[in-house]
Symmetry: C2
């Protein structure tokens, strides 16, 4: 299936109505949320990685592949302001992978899962004649299911992002050039691409602070901001001078650093908006927790579009697309984006 067919495909499969009244967030956000009982909300998300599309054995160890497969799911839970609890793993295994490598994939997941006290609850292993396909489901909990929706942005909100943006794409670029580069810059950026750290603590802080809109950055800042703008029907204006781009990304290629920041994706940082009062609380709590969070713009009344004011004070429209270095066919939760995924 070609990429351009995907939007109508997701529309086709999205049910027009739900059977269960307990679904609080269905298809169309980072993860689904359903109520088990008053005050007990479960989060459910599921992401897949395919060999040679989302990772390559030439530069990622089995542990790193496992880490990332779980991390991208935990990141979806973080973007709902939730706490991850359990995971299940399904792997379709080609004959050329050894049992030792498979065990190492699970060890990579376990190391990350352990930091969140998560337990592996099951899954499936099947053989395949094709590439290795690894699918992870994560379930979690949230006390405030309404606080982190994409559709929560309002005019007057401050736009913020955690950590640095563009590092992952910079790392991928350098890995493609020379995966054996031992420089500190390369090692830092490799790590940022191969071993993303989901922002669970930041998500919890944001969710506890009040109404916010929130996405994790899987498809790139421009794409995530467009999703928020469209879901919330606001105009988002961000300022190039405020973007948190690491010195390492600039060192990797200072002409490409902005493109990586805007369109690179896979940073698995959180991007969102909150009122100035709420953002003041978020900022203070993040500072206490040692989490970098940066104000990068504002939300305004107007068309659902995203603009960048560049270094020369010129305003450019930021389209969703840009480039998409992974050949993803898309995603179901990320229904708003033609390149999107959950």
């Amino acid at each position: 299936m070609a990429l351009h067919d995907e939007f109508s495909f997701i529309k086709d499969i999205t049910p027009s109505s739900l059977h269960q009244a307990d679904v609080l967030v269905g298809i169309g956000d980072d993860a689904a949320v359903y109520q088990v009982q008053e005050g007990q909300q479960q989060i459910l998300c599921m992401d897949t990685m395919v060999e040679d599309i989302h990772f390559k054995r030439s530069y990622s160890s089995a542990e790193e592949i496992g880490h990332k497969a779980l991390a991208v799911n935990i990141s979806d839970v973080a973007a709902m302001g939730g706490i991850p609890k359990y995971y299940a793993v399904s792997i379709a295994i080609p004959a050329h992978w050894s049992p030792g490598e498979l065990t190492a994939i699970y060890q990579g997941m376990k190391q990350l899962g352990d930091t969140y006290q998560m337990d592996l609850l099951g899954g499936d292993t099947v053989s395949t004649q094709g590439k290795l396909v690894i699918t992870v489901t994560v379930t979690g909990e949230t006390q405030r299911p309404d606080n982190c929706l994409r559709s929560n942005a309002k005019e007057g909100d401050i736009v913020f992002v955690t950590g640095y943006v563009g590092d992952s794409a910079a790392g991928l670029h350098l890995l493609t050039e020379n995966p054996d580069n031992l420089s500190a810059t390369s090692q830092y950026l490799f790590q940022r691409h191969k071993m993303p750290v989901p922002q669970v603590e930041a998500g919890t802080i944001i969710s506890a602070s009040g109404r916010a809109s929130l996405n994790d950055i899987s498809d790139g800042l421009a794409s995530e901001l467009n999703e928020i703008a469209e879901a919330s029907n606001v105009t988002i204006m961000i300022d190039e001078t405020m973007l948190p781009i690491s010195k390492e990304a600039f060192e990797a290629d200072n002409r490409q650093a902005l493109t990586w920041a805007l369109y690179g994706g896979e940073d698995f940082e959180l991007v969102g908006t909150a009122s100035p009062e709420t953002f003041a609380v978020i900022e203070k709590e993040c500072k206490k927790a040692g989490i970098l969070i940066t104000r990068i713009g504002e939300a305004h009344q107007g068309e659902a579009k995203v603009f960048l004011e560049d270094l020369h004070s010129e305003v450019r429209l930021l389209a969703k697309g840009g480039y998409n270095h992974f050949q993803k066919a898309g995603g179901i939760n990320g229904v708003e984006s033609e390149n999107g995924k959950s």
Copy 2:
């Protein structure tokens, strides 16, 4: 990875201890169960099907593939005595599948899901250069998480099975011979292989009746009974004359019907044990609901083995294995079986 490596692989990845005290059933049964709150237990399971291993486009329509991918997961919930509620779907898509076919896969799932009031909550779609891989996660609820464990069998229990066993393998056999055969026998057996019906209502009845051991038949009666015998440390003796084998399976090949019944797998019926008193209740309630349930043997004190008393009153050991028509690498939930899966 070869099949014989799988047992140690699953042992390797099964955590020696759990972080969360709320896990009631971890790796090693049909599905996992965890407590959200006193009296609120969530079931989680996940199964994967791979093109040309678990299904072939030459004889299964896209709707049938979708139906089966969801059905095998609902069957795991049924084997825990639970009610399925939600599902998420991840598909790795090769370029040669059309958007129409993909939509039809989801329609097949929706038709089955609708019968249980289940909602699709999300998932992922990615492209692959390999075969189509479809992974489904189902969550559900159970009020009695301890009533349907594999380890619940006791000496003196009656061994029972729902529906007919061997139909699915008979159907696969006939499909391989002539998928265009329009005879009533072929059509019935094709359907039993391609469109399995999970036994949710039977599972609910069994779970409500008291202590039972329970498995769904994915790997074949012999394999499932061995899992129960091992988990419960009992000897299971079944009687060939009591096995519910359909007249259609006998018509397909009366010399193979018994082998199909014992080793064929993919019937997705329920097999288990219960005390004579509990079984009397189960039998009565199943009769009321129009569900075929058949007493096929007894559990005895002794070694964890399974025996068949044949037509000539000779007793044969029933090994787990037999043949395995699907090249499954195995499963995580079904940790006891070398060919097992969740």
